[in-house]
């Protein structure tokens, strides 16, 4: 399934997709009297890159937290790959193939880069306490995992820092490591929370290439991003949130001129600089 599958999809909030991987229904999250997220219906098409935009406080990260099991919704359900996964704990969702990264990178500082990678592999026999004592039970699998980790490290150009503690990586390298690490889980859906935040232009091109590579590899990507150039360049589909709701969705070009989107960024929040590139 590719971007062309989205050709006939209506550009309105909550529109149905031909082959949705993730379907969100009536998900709400209240913090006291504040309704942070209120998504009536949202479908994420399989095999494409969907950008999630919106002004600060629109509820994008909260929605991420809800969908990935890091927060509990006040109401609502969502299905992943045809199964209802509402309320599953975060680690179960990750094992099912839904992996997230964080806005502020979370590398495991006192593990080496390659350990960070190997940790992320799922179904490891040696992760059971009694098996762990007996290397023959997991040694072969470990070698296989290490090979996969090394291949990914090379692809993300982190192989030279393989045996260093991850805490000594630069900010950009941490972003790369987090993305590479997420791939070790072999996810169907990758949720990237501001992958380009605080990244220099050269590395930004790298990261764009890697996101492209995810799509090429058949994975679905949902990412939150403030940099409009990035969103326009890489997304097949864009969803715009404001005040917890989905206010618009469509192909990148149609979102640029959408009145609701411009209003959301400029109409009610004059102090929001995020949309300047789109004007």
């Amino acid at each position: 399934m590719t971007a062309s599958a989205l050709a006939g999809v209506p550009t309105e909030p909550g529109s149905a997709k031909p082959d949705p991987l993730l379907v969100v229904d009536g998900v709400r999250r209240d913090f006291g009297g504040m309704r942070a997220v209120d998504v009536e219906h949202l479908e994420i098409q399989r095999g494409v890159v969907t950008g999630l935009i919106g002004p600060n406080g629109a509820g994008k990260t909260t929605l991420f937290n809800l969908l990935t099991g890091f927060d509990r919704p006040t109401a609502g359900r969502w299905r992943f790959d045809g199964h209802d996964v509402t309320g599953l704990p975060a680690h179960r969702l990750a094992r099912r193939g839904m992996v997230r990264t964080f806005q502020l990178t979370r590398v495991l500082a006192r593990l080496t880069v390659v350990e960070n990678m190997k940790l992320a592999a799922t179904g490891q026999r040696g992760e059971r306490l009694l098996n762990a004592l007996l290397r023959p039970l997991w040694g072969a699998q470990e070698a296989e995992i290490e090979q996969r980790a090394d291949a990914l490290l090379e692809r993300f150009r982190l192989d030279t820092r393989r045996d260093e503690y991850a805490g000594y990586l630069s900010g950009g390298q941490r972003k790369l490591l987090e993305m590479a690490r997420a791939l070790m889980v072999d996810p169907a859906l990758v949720l990237l929370d501001e992958p380009m935040a605080g990244v220099n232009p050269a590395l930004r091109q790298d990261l764009l290439g890697h996101i492209d590579g995810l799509r090429e590899g058949g994975r679905t990507v949902l990412f939150v991003e403030h940099d409009m150039d990035v969103v326009m360049e890489i997304s097949d589909w864009v969803v715009c949130m404001a005040q917890g709701r989905v206010i618009a969705e469509g192909p990148p070009a149609s979102i640029m001129g959408n009145v609701d989107v411009i209003d959301a960024y400029l109409g009610t929040r004059h102090d929001e600089p995020g949309f300047r590139e789109g004007q």
Partner: protein
Amino acid sequence: MDLLVILSDAGRGAFGPVAAIYALAAVGLNIHFGYTGLLNFGQVGFLLVGAYGVAVTVSVFGGPLWLGVLVGIAASVVLALLLGLPTLRLRSDYLAIATIAAGEVLRIVFNAGFAAPVTGGVFGLQQFANAFYALNPIPRGSYGIGAWAFSQRDLWVMLVGWGGVAVATLGVFLLARSPWGRVLRSVREDEDAARSLGKNVYGYKMQSLVLGGVIGAFAGMLLAVDAQAVAPNTFNPEVTFNMYALLILGGAGTVLGPVLGSVIFWFLLTFADSALRQAQGAGYLPEVVSAADVGALRFALVGLLLMLLLVYRPQGILGDAQQMRLEAGAGGIPGGKRRRRGRVREEAAR
């Protein structure tokens, strides 16, 4: 002052039964604190249930020693579950509060009058380890060189104690380099990241708490057997803090850290004790220091030494300086490299 006496005293302290007991308990604490990042401030509570498991089973109910050991293990598992179930989903500080409270509650309850028929109250229980000493294969006598000597009884306890330390340390060595140990360390670094990669953080924290607690219970059993007596007030909170001191001294999160830490800690403590007593006896100390003050003074001296060590080697003796810098929140370039790069820059300037 006789330096030989002081050294042989210190040597006895460093390798005696008590050092083995503390080393074993600290191996358990190292699994909690060093590898998983769990702040357990009530390790002494696990020692208590282990010790009383043996004592109560044998001297109150007349059961065999092996049953007492099983009871001690079971009690420590139950204690770990009771502590872990409500707190391990919360931030780490809650476990710290719960464990320090649980340790004190256990001590006070075992002290209380209403529990006296089972626990012996404040006087505790005695003479329950005869079966253990009946197994002693070492012939009667004194073993060692000159003043540095142990009775066959001490030697038997040391043999079992250090044997237990060796087995536990080997276990930790195997676990630490396994994928299981990797998950524990990832939990220590960042729970949310571990969770986002599909690891059941709660389950791993529970396994860690139970495993370290059971090792602590074995240390408690050994403590009870060594003294042939248990009394609640042996199990003061400071026991836990001494274990933290020696664990950090040796290097938290290293395989041999707790063992080396215990040996050095008890060497220093008995050295200071013996030296101060000799000095006091010979009249070297000012008169304001009475014989009774020596006990307190030795802790002050050891405290000073520990502080000096931590100022100059905060990662402990076996710890990794690079890891320590990361723990302190420093990022960027490892210390050694930074210096090298600095040198390169200097050379370039020339």
